[in-house]
């Protein structure tokens, strides 16, 4: 395993980009974009059958052909109970104990309900799930999830689908500094590749995004752009980023500067 690899729930993962399977203009573009991203983990959901919305067995066969790690989500669950039942259904359906745990608390910003999230996390970890909780950037919530047994946290950058990027980098930086041994993945709100690069430059282990690629004018090209951004961000982090300063420091040597006279 190289130092660039991510050890995630016992699996060696080369790509630090996790990608969603929703909102693409067509199944073919979904397949091409996910391939172009070189992501090794793709999120899916479970829903009632709806021929107009796609999904179902054709979608599942197409996704299986990509041979990627599947990360099912509990999107749309509003209570711990709903999320727990959905997770159990996902485990059987997708044959994985990985679960992106979403317990939604607000219909407008789709932000996690922290109380339901902790309750569901405790129960699912006790039942052998590897929980990837979608959480806010609140440090105390993150600590509670870690106390429940989470080794992975997925704090938001911004509300799902907003494309606003990292709206609270101070809070995200706090999580990174205070939870050095936890795998941290920025999930949601990413809009452009520089947002992904920013997260990785800060030392986050990966990013998860969907809308930014699927709804781009050219999803396949955008998927490549995100791939490069994640590589750049990770390399920058490993290279040692210069500290930020408030006062300018010249980069050109001062000694030998012309047209300078000492005042007598």
């Amino acid at each position: 395993m190289s130092e660039n690899d991510l050890l995630l729930a016992g699996k060696k993962i080369k790509s630090r980009l996790l990608i969603g399977s929703a909102l693409y203009p067509s199944p073919k573009i979904m397949q091409q974009a996910i391939s172009a991203s070189e992501s090794e983990i793709v999120t899916v959901s479970l829903r009632r059958q709806n021929p107009q919305a796609g999904g179902g067995n054709d979608f599942w066969e197409l996704l299986k052909s990509l041979d990627l790690n599947i990360l099912p989500n509990t999107a749309g669950c509003h209570s711990a109970k709903e999320a727990i039942v959905t997770a159990k259904m996902a485990r059987e359906l997708f044959n994985t104990n990985w679960i992106k745990l979403e317990v939604i608390g607000d219909e407008y910003n789709l932000q996690p309900d922290p109380f339901g999230l902790v309750e569901a996390t405790k129960e699912l970890i006790s039942q052998g799930f590897e929980v990837f909780p979608y959480c806010t950037d609140d440090l105390v919530l993150a600590q509670k999830l870690v106390e429940c047994g989470c080794k992975i946290l997925m704090p938001w950058g911004a509300p799902i689908g907003t494309g606003k990027g990292l709206i609270n980098p101070f809070a995200l930086n706090t999580l990174r500094n205070r939870l050095p041994d936890i795998t941290l993945i920025v999930d949601a709100g990413i809009g452009v590749p520089s947002h992904a690069a920013q997260a990785l430059e800060m030392g986050f282990d990966a990013v998860l995004l969907n809308t930014a690629v699927a709804q781009a004018t050219d999803p396949v090209a955008m998927a490549k752009a995100f791939k490069f951004a994640c590589q750049a961000g990770r390399l920058a982090y490993q290279s040692g980023v210069i500290p930020e300063r408030d006062i300018a420091k010249p980069s050109t040597p001062v000694v030998g500067q012309p047209f300078w006279h000492q005042d007598n």
Binding site: S21, R48, Q49, A53, P72, K81, M89, E92
Partner: protein, 67 residues
């Protein structure tokens, strides 16, 4: 015949139907799906034997795109 809720819709089914019969109502004779009855997960191994009662609420979910 009894009435049950299947994916949010009221349906009439034979009173001795099992979950496999019910999946057939949605055209899911072979296929990937998972089931919950009255908000409790039902494993595949129980599809033939789990009793289905009047007014049971059944969720039969399939793989779908997701973020």
């Amino acid at each position: 015949m009894i009435e049950i809720w299947l994916n949010g819709e009221l349906k009439q089914i034979e009173s001795n139907s099992n979950l496999i019969d019910i999946a057939g109502l949605l055209g899911l004779n072979d296929g990937a799906y998972a089931v919950a009855v009255n908000e409790q997960f039902v494993p595949k191994s129980d599809y033939q034997t789990k009793p289905i009662n009047k007014h049971d609420k059944i969720e039969l979910l399939m793989p779908m795109q997701g973020g």
